[in-house]
Symmetry: D3
Subunit: 133 residues, 6 copies
Amino acid sequence: MIEQTPVFRLSVDDHLMIAHSLPGEYFGAAQQLHGATLALTATFERQGLNEHGVVMDIGLAHQLLAAVLEPLRHQNLDEHTDFAEKISTTEVICHHIALQVAEALPQAHGLQAVEVAAEENPQARASVRLVLQ
Amino acid sequence: MIEQTPVFRLSVDDHLMIAHSLPGEYFGAAQQLHGATLALTATFERQGLNEHGVVMDIGLAHQLLAAVLEPLRHQNLDEHTDFAEKISTTEVICHHIALQVAEALPQAHGLQAVEVAAEENPQARASVRLVLQ
Amino acid sequence: MIEQTPVFRLSVDDHLMIAHSLPGEYFGAAQQLHGATLALTATFERQGLNEHGVVMDIGLAHQLLAAVLEPLRHQNLDEHTDFAEKISTTEVICHHIALQVAEALPQAHGLQAVEVAAEENPQARASVRLVLQ
Amino acid sequence: MIEQTPVFRLSVDDHLMIAHSLPGEYFGAAQQLHGATLALTATFERQGLNEHGVVMDIGLAHQLLAAVLEPLRHQNLDEHTDFAEKISTTEVICHHIALQVAEALPQAHGLQAVEVAAEENPQARASVRLVLQ
Amino acid sequence: MIEQTPVFRLSVDDHLMIAHSLPGEYFGAAQQLHGATLALTATFERQGLNEHGVVMDIGLAHQLLAAVLEPLRHQNLDEHTDFAEKISTTEVICHHIALQVAEALPQAHGLQAVEVAAEENPQARASVRLVLQ
Amino acid sequence: MIEQTPVFRLSVDDHLMIAHSLPGEYFGAAQQLHGATLALTATFERQGLNEHGVVMDIGLAHQLLAAVLEPLRHQNLDEHTDFAEKISTTEVICHHIALQVAEALPQAHGLQAVEVAAEENPQARASVRLVLQ
């Protein structure tokens, strides 16, 4: 038997080019001021589809992600107020973006989760999954 | 402690090149007749492996997906009977394909879920996950 | 000995989602109205770099490509005036885009070639190279 | 409401180039001695982050995976002791690697799952998810 | 001034999963019997387009490549007659495929070059370009 | 007629994560200190193959590229001596790497060109081609 109201996901991409450093011996050479292109994917998850047969408006999905990224584009995160008390690891940046995207969702979105993933180089990626309760 | 019978997944790819339009102001420019290449991935999920050490016969996985795609290849979905009462969004197309793949599975397949994902352009993807109960 | 003023290239990506049909038995099932996502790359080529150490302003490169694509986005090329007397194959679409991008280049660009490539599906690509004399 | 301690994932890539054959008519042409490049991704999953704001040390993640792959690189798995009683399908190879990576994790890693995925060709992938209890 | 009859290219993909070994200390660990998935691209190049507005029939391009690959699929190249006197490096395999594709072209193809490229692992590729005089 | 000694190419990948800023209004927001992951490909080109049937030793190709990248890894190029008098655009970084790779080639390499390409974000790439005379 196949379930009748399955889980759907919609993903949209954008990217960020930032400078930062990571504090402490734990991070080795990444303690030095360096940078990264973060190739980002935001994923929106919903049980069933809305009345238009989609997870959400794909244009809105792109806009929500872009709006959150705007104040971070071409920034040195070591001096950015949003990361003042934080270590700006790829995981923490994903979390920051996911929280802001989740908070910016319109009322009655019907979504059950938001994920943000970042490829920081061709051989490494991180992600976070926020369950919306 | 590591679980003894973990969940395995097998994914196979194919693609579809279709025309369609999406009705209503909600869809903006996509209300116009346009088209898409859908780069499709069907994923089969199973707890543990079958007696041959696989999720399922990979050749069969490719065939099941291709058989479902055959009547949709090079079609205008606005005039296709399978989408007569439906909005042919990427999400709905994924659902259509996933349902047909799930129904075409051989008896005693042992699978617990089928997923179908589609990349509709280099910056957007949708997917559906059907739990087989 | 290594040459002193080598050839540099800059590439930027965008995409197009169009409907079309291709006339004549030669095209088999593609005679039917169907569609495609064209994942596009425009490449600009120059011997040596400009005074800013680049092939050209990357923002301008993105804008030139986007401006050419704008009137084609979400269109049925069978009814588009730019393709009235043409077969809208991937090759012909690339040529159309490359010509328009080349003609829109600012004066004194210093470029020696413009290329446009399109991936029409995960297993096929076409491209054209315009030498600017 | 957004959950306070979400699930994070970190993925690192490596690859393996092996020969093998798969026994029995079930495998068709793959019964013959052939080979594969397995493009591998190991994913580490954790609820919340460690004191450094990461899932785990990314350098260690790369090392753990590489250490498990080392004895398999450029091998014929038909003659490799680790696969003596096994069918070396992509699924079984993923399982082998995931188990060894999981067992090599340092004490108090805080991880809740390890996944290993392998792309065996541009149109097929397999994976396994080990829940660490 | 923009040239009037530019060079066009059409590329199609396929893949091969083979075993082989490479003789001599020069090849290090690759002297051992191992294997590879070769993700292959055949590119056909032409000045101007044919009467159908394409470089060549894309279906024929796929068929020509597949026909050449057929006798190599799931083979151990160490025992394959086509590589009896040859070292089956990625470069040599590309050359073998390119020559056979070029020889199988129909009369009056109008092509000026055939290229074959192979990705042997996620971090290495080889290719050959045959000029057709 | 097919040429007898065609041109072969071998490509190997690596990457760099750097901080930098680009001076002058021309660069807009990139004037600010930011960063990038440069996904790099070095390509070696040769007419015909060496006595081992390859363009060059692939292990050496990886080593040459890695050796050139080593002093640039996790650096702020604004403070790096190699870029003291230079604007560290992607094009200039590619040129710097290509020149150093070319100069580090062993005697009698038989190569006719070295190319270095960098993807700076998912939608933009630059490259340089050094002809070795």
